[in-house]
């Protein structure tokens, strides 16, 4: 059977499963559509959060970025897990206690203002749409490779598939579909990793293999990797970074963003009890950690495998002939995501880092520039092929990558559609809308969001994980501070919260757009997106943390200069703090 047929079988089979589940669990009421009737067990919910959470960024893109950046990109690992600590302690239990459908609804009620709710809707939409752009970009890459079409066509197919089941299911459909998707994606991620770990380190657990001895050379894997890549002019894989400020802010931005992303927060509305919301966060992180502890191993092993593929006889010997290149390079060349140019016309593939320090050696070896450009987003998908694993593993990873991208995209679309139909239309424009009308509005807004995200996903402002990181920065700077202050402060009032959200969002978006292009439209940036141009070396990906600080500061200053929130709002704050005490506290 051809690889194409195997891919179709795995991808098609898994899709059929999701669609059947979506139909079986079809949402009947608006409550089902938004919060699955509130009856999901913490472990089930944790698994669904895991699938919701781990997107194309985690599955397809992250390990590729870690492979390229080494230690410096550990930020993704810490940032995308550490946020769950914040969620479990600072938001989830209280928002569950509050017991409404959406994030803007909480902000609107707590800050007793329709405008606050509308501002929250705007923040939510900006963050979520940015996030969906990253998913579409990732799903496009996966579809184009496995269906052997060009990347635009891949993107279109992705858009249609996402739309179909997001619209069909609603939260209830999505919850159970996502449990299935979690299983598919985690199996798909770990099986190739186990094989590769066994090949390289003779250790079955990739997380342990990462710190074990490399079988062929007898030295630790990371030592071997450092040797190989420094021989080719790259920085050491484990090298420390100079700009620690940026590294801290980036990690913080991802952590706060995790806790501020609406599609994750609404998951905590679906557990029956406040205590369950706390456990859910823990279980979610356990399921997420299975992938996140494997990812750094995948990263370093894939990088080493790539280097040994190109330099089979060691870095001091000649690179492989272009004519003898392995099949996976040929196939990825079709998608345009691997590009080879024979700059010195010797018929061999020289892959190295064009750094000034390495120039002398490159000249001495007759190299006229790096000849192989590998898109970082393909590393995980190409990983089994690089390691010569059997065809079914490749089909499996295709299904897994798509599960990750589509499950998250669906969750985000649900968050967007509920914000539009429930908060914007029912909450502000037409409170008398019927349930049927509300569901229709939800579906139309999903369709619009997909069209916009697909259009921008064709020219994404970075690799999938980087686009997603931008979305986190936006959520960190706008929604998280408002939610946290809403629970932990009785003093922050409507004016303060609105001012905080607007300045946090405005500040962060401006900084991002200056470097990434206005509304992410390519070519409209004011400054080149390179470290020399960043203020204090802070990357647009890290600015969300600063935006959050701006938000907190503005909100406190403005609130203190204006009147206290009314007594009933202070009582509302009291009530969300106690799992049961709410009613009793108001009795006195």
């Amino acid at each position: 059977m051809s690889q194409f047929a195997i891919n179709i079988m795995f991808v098609g089979g898994s899709f059929l499963l999701y669609i059947l589940i979506a139909i079986w669990a079809k949402a009947g009421t608006t409550k089902d559509f938004y919060v699955a009737g509130g009856g999901v067990h913490p472990v089930t919910n944790g698994m669904a959060i895991g699938a919701d959470w781990m997107s194309a960024a985690s599955f397809i893109s992250m390990a590729g970025l870690i492979a390229a950046g080494g230690y410096a990109n550990s930020t993704f690992l810490m940032g995308w897990t550490g946020g769950y600590v914040l969620l479990a302690m600072l938001l989830a239990p209280y928002l569950r206690k509050f017991g409404k459908f959406t994030v803007p609804e909480f902000i609107g009620d707590r800050f007793y203002s329709k405008n606050a709710r509308l501002v929250a809707v705007v923040c939510l939409i900006v963050a979520s749409v940015t996030y969906v752009i990253g998913q579409m970009a990732g799903a496009g890459v996966a579809f184009s490779r496995f269906l052997e079409v060009d990347s635009t066509m891949g993107l279109m197919i992705a858009a249609i598939v996402v739309f179909i089941y997001a619209v069909l299911g609603g939260m209830k459909g999505i919850t159970y579909t996502q449990v299935a998707q979690y299983c598919v994606l985690i199996i798909a991620y770990t099986i190739p990793a186990v094989f590769i770990s066994l090949q390289l380190t003779d250790t079955a657990l990739p997380a342990i293999g990462l710190f074990s001895t490399h079988v062929d050379s007898g030295v630790p894997l990371l030592t071997k990797l450092n040797e190989v890549i420094t021989d080719l002019g790259f920085n050491e894989y484990t090298a420390d970074v100079d700009n620690k400020l940026n590294m801290v802010l980036f990690t913080l931005s991802l952590m706060i963003g995790t806790a501020g992303l609406p599609h994750v927060i609404i998951r905590f509305f679906t557990v029956p009890k406040v205590a369950d919301a706390r456990w859910s966060a823990g279980w979610a992180l356990v399921f997420i950690a299975i992938l996140y502890l494997t990812a750094p191993a995948v990263a370093s092993m894939a990088r080493l495998n790539l280097m040994t593929t190109i330099y089979p006889d060691g870095t001091s010997a000649e690179a492989i002939q272009y004519e003898d290149r392995p099949n996976w390079i040929r196939e990825w060349e079709v998608t345009g995501l691997i590009q080879f140019t024979d700059k010195n016309e010797d018929g061999r593939i020289q892959l190295y880092n064009e750094s000034p320090a390495f120039e002398a050696e490159a000249n001495a070896r007759g190299w006229k520039g790096n000849e192989l450009v590998v898109n970082r987003d393909i590393l995980v998908l190409a990983n089994p092929e690089i390691a010569n694993l059997p065809g079914w593993v490749i089909g499996l990873i295709a299904a897994g990558g798509l599960a990750a991208a589509l499950s998250t995209a669906a969750g985000l679309l649900l968050a967007i559609s509920s914000a539009v139909s429930h908060d914007l239309i029912k909450g502000a424009i037409n409170p008398k809308i019927t349930e049927k009308g509300e569901l229709m509005a939800a579906r139309i807004s999903m369709a619009v969001a997909i069209v916009v995200a697909t259009w921008l996903g064709a020219n994404p402002p970075g690799f999938a994980a980087q686009v997603v990181a931008l979305a986190f920065g936006i959520a960190a700077a706008s929604l998280f501070p408002a939610l946290m202050m809403g629970i932990f402060s009785k003093r922050v009032n409507n004016t303060g919260a609105i001012a905080g959200m607007l300045t946090g969002l405005g500040f962060t978006l401006t900084y991002i757009f200056v470097y990434k292009g206005w509304l992410f439209i390519p070519g409209t940036n004011n400054l080149p997106d390179t470290p020399e141009n960043w203020v204090l070396g802070i990357s647009p990906l890290s600015i969300g943390a600063v935006g959050a600080i701006v938000n907190f500061t503005v909100a406190f200053l403005v609130s203190n200069a204006t009147e206290e929130p009314p007594v009933e709002i202070q009582e509302l704050v009291e009530s969300v703090r106690y799992p049961r005490g709410a009613g009793q506290a108001q009795d006195h």
Binding site: G82, Y84, M89, F211, V219, T238, D240, M255, L285, A585
Partner: protein
Amino acid sequence: MSGHSYDAENYWKANLRLIVGSLVVWALVSYGFAILLRPMLAGIPVGGTDLGFWFAQQGSILTFIALIFHYAWRMNKIDEKFGVHEE
């Protein structure tokens, strides 16, 4: 009123203490050991690299899991102690 709200106040304080303690550990393993204090831990070798690298790629994640389960477990106890747990 005073009896009840006194208790409520203590409950909230107990929660805040637990949160602050947890977040100190949270920051120490990630921003501390894995980033800012990494040079200090450079002398402790772990499989071809140093302890700071391990914290950045694995140690912090494992600590986060422990922190959340510890918080959930302690907090559910505190809920019961103050009688604010759900039925």
